[in-house]
């Protein structure tokens, strides 16, 4: 691929109009993204949304049918392969190999010097509580421990870019927290971390930027706090005494959901929340709570998927 297209700023990763289909199934549709260097970026979406396909294309394991992906200064992942650590979805380990041998092998095919990586591997094994399992066969480890070995495998050659596909799967909450801490530390060291997940809470705790994918299409993308601020507008939560059903008829209300004394409203764009307050006061409704809510990522996602006018059932193919 040409290095001449200088669309990327220094270390940013840039997707330009990327599409990929497998036979009839369009896994990714015209995706354009910018993944900033030194940040944690999440590909989010339900199963089969196209997250893994995005990561595989990012890594040049498969090539897009259309569009281009550039890493640092226009290079492809293949050019930078030794500086990338990749953790595939599901376990990607030789079951019959010893943990230490395996980790050394993974570093070696990344061109690392085996002698140099050994202390680093030991350090990580210790950190993740696997120091005494270095000589164990992979197949003798629990699922969670295998996942940790796999995780160390992506770090053994000290890459500057980490690509992690569902890194938390199979881990208990304590280990999840441990991995989260490590990822945050790695970001501090200036590493870029890209990961995919279908669990929004995880992304919320970690990500600087996100891309919400649904049916191969990006439905929301950008810095997480900005997205929340932007898309959180117009969501009102009320706690009150007396019926507020009359609000449904107001032309500034987009959606209305009530459980009697608790009501959630979505205002139309640019509508002033004060209109609601005035209307409630006019009707002498007693208000216990009036809150402009900051939505969770999950809510944002649900809202976006619903409004994309497609039904929310994901494809069955896990592309």
């Amino acid at each position: 691929m040409s290095r001449t297209t200088k669309t990327a700023e220094d270390g940013d990763i840039v997707f330009t109009n990327v599409s990929k289909s497998f036979g009839e199934v369009q896994a990714v549709k015209e995706l354009s993204l910018r993944l900033p260097q030194g940040q944690i970026y999440g590909f989010l979406g339900p199963n089969g949304a196209g997250k893994t396909t995005c990561l595989r294309m990012l890594l040049s394991i498969i090539l897009p049918d259309q569009g281009e992906i550039h890493l640092q200064g226009g290079a492809t992942a293949w050019d930078l392969r030794d500086q990338i650590g990749y953790l595939p979805e599901e376990r990607g380990l030789y079951r019959r190999m010893q943990v230490m041998d395996h980790l050394k092998f993974l570093a070696e095919i990344k061109g690392a010097d085996v002698k140099a990586v050994e202390p680093r591997i030991l350090k990580w094994l210790e950190r993740l509580g696997l120091a005494d399992r270095a000589k164990s066969k992979v197949m003798d480890l629990s699922k969670g421990n295998q996942q940790k070995v796999q995780f160390i495998g992506t770090l053994a050659h000290n890459p500057s870019l980490l690509v992690l596909d569902e890194v938390f799967s199979g881990l208990d909450p304590i280990n999840q927290q441990q991995i989260r801490d490590i990822l945050l530390e790695l970001r501090k060291e200036g590493k870029t971390i890209i990961f995919s997940t279908h669990i929004m809470e995880q992304a919320e705790q970690l990500c600087d930027g996100i891309c919400l994918i649904h049916r191969g299409q990006c439905i929301m993308e950008g810095a997480l706090d900005e997205l929340k601020a932007e898309h959180g507008k117009g969501k009102l939560q009320l706690e009150h005494t007396g019926s507020v059903d009359f609000l449904q008829a107001k032309d500034y209300i987009l959606s209305y959901r009530t459980t009697g004394n608790n009501t959630e409203l979505q205002l139309k764009e640019d509508a002033d929340p004060n209109l609601v307050l005035t209307a409630l006061l006019d009707k002498d409704i007693k208000i216990q709570r009036f809150e402009l809510a900051n939505p969770t990522l999950k809510e944002l996602f649900m809202q976006k998927v619903e409004s994309s006018e497609e039904n929310t059932e994901g494809d069955t193919t896990d592309a």
Binding site: S60, W78, D82, I84, Y86, P88, R91, Y94, F105, I109
Partner: protein, 454 residues
Amino acid sequence: MRRIWAVARRDFIAVVKTKGFLLSLFLTPLFLGGLLLLPLLANPGGLSKKTKKIEVVDPTGQFGPVLKKVFETLRKKEAANFEIVATTHKAKDSKTWFKKSKQLLEKGDRFALIWLGEKTLQLQAPSKVIPSSRPAATSKPNHASKLGPPSKGQTDLSRILQIRAKNVNFIKVAKLKRTIEQTLTHLRLAQLGPVSLQVMMIQASSKKLVQMRNPEGKIIGKSQFMKRFMTGLIFIMLLYMTIQIIGGNLVNSVIEEKSSRIMEVLLSSITPGQLMFGKVLGLGAAGLVMVTFFASTSFLGASVSKFSLQVGNLVMFVVYYALAFFLYSFLLAGIGSICTTEKEAQQMMAPVMLLLIIPAVMNTQILQNPEGVLAVTLSLVPFTAPGAMLSRMSTMTVPSYQIALSIGIMFVSALFILWGSIQVFRIGVLMYGKKPSVREVLKWIKPGSSSRPG
């Protein structure tokens, strides 16, 4: 290169450490040895040095002692383990004696019964049809003009020498029959007087006047054919065993890598070509260990059993072996990459392995007509060339242009298969679930369908 080396080393260790590899290392020579010994073991008589007793019922009293002497000489010369218990009886008693002896035969105390008719030794043509088997009281020796085989119809048993044996060990019985025929001939000829001695001498010397030689003039011994047959066969067996085991491992490890998704990690670090080459190299090394082990054990075995193999074409052996190994390994790696389960892979491997044994099945035809269309074709088709060519080489001097052509074809095919397999490999290894159709696979092989640089 270091990465190829890393892959090769990993795969080598992965295979060599498996129990299957170690087992096959030790069991295969045992199995092959067993295969050679099985016929002997199944028929213990053929192996035991115990002498077999043969009862001779001889009304003439002339035949038994002579036969005994013949077998004694044979026993000293080539360890034929027959012992003659000759009994001479009057013609009228022979039936009773025969009945007695028959019991011995049935009990297994005797290997065979020889019942000489009282007129067997006479140089007389039989009278046309004799209604009863009971011999006529007297008969005079007749003229040479009447010599001839007994007429058809009912056989005159008084003229027949019967060998009755329970054990149908064809080789032994045939040997016995031949010896007895010769003895009978001598005894009958002797009746003609001094002439017979000359006849016998001519017969003996004539045998020595005929010699089988190869085109270079080297004398071909009796056992040569067997050696040749075995040389070709052992080569194919060796190739088959190693490709079956090593190729099976190759396919399985590709499938393991695919299903465990480590393939993605590998392919984000090295090219499919590097990966494939590393695997074939590592497994090839494992194969080398295996072949060296097999070869040394069979050499040992051969020197112990005095069954010498032809190793004159050792260089050719190595060249063809290496070419065949790479050819088949590359092909199997391609196959492994489009399969999802080991079972599926085994089904796809079966026809490939069949190609490998075609020369073994055709070995006899190849040896009988090493310059025939079949033999030449088989020795030029890359998949059958190794076995067929080695077989031909053991029988004849194959024209060097044919050898060069066959090696060239194999080399080019191996490269082509390597290239094609890499094309299939780099797409196939990332396909999960659905098995691609033949048309799809062919599409992958076409240039320009690359999924990645490198």
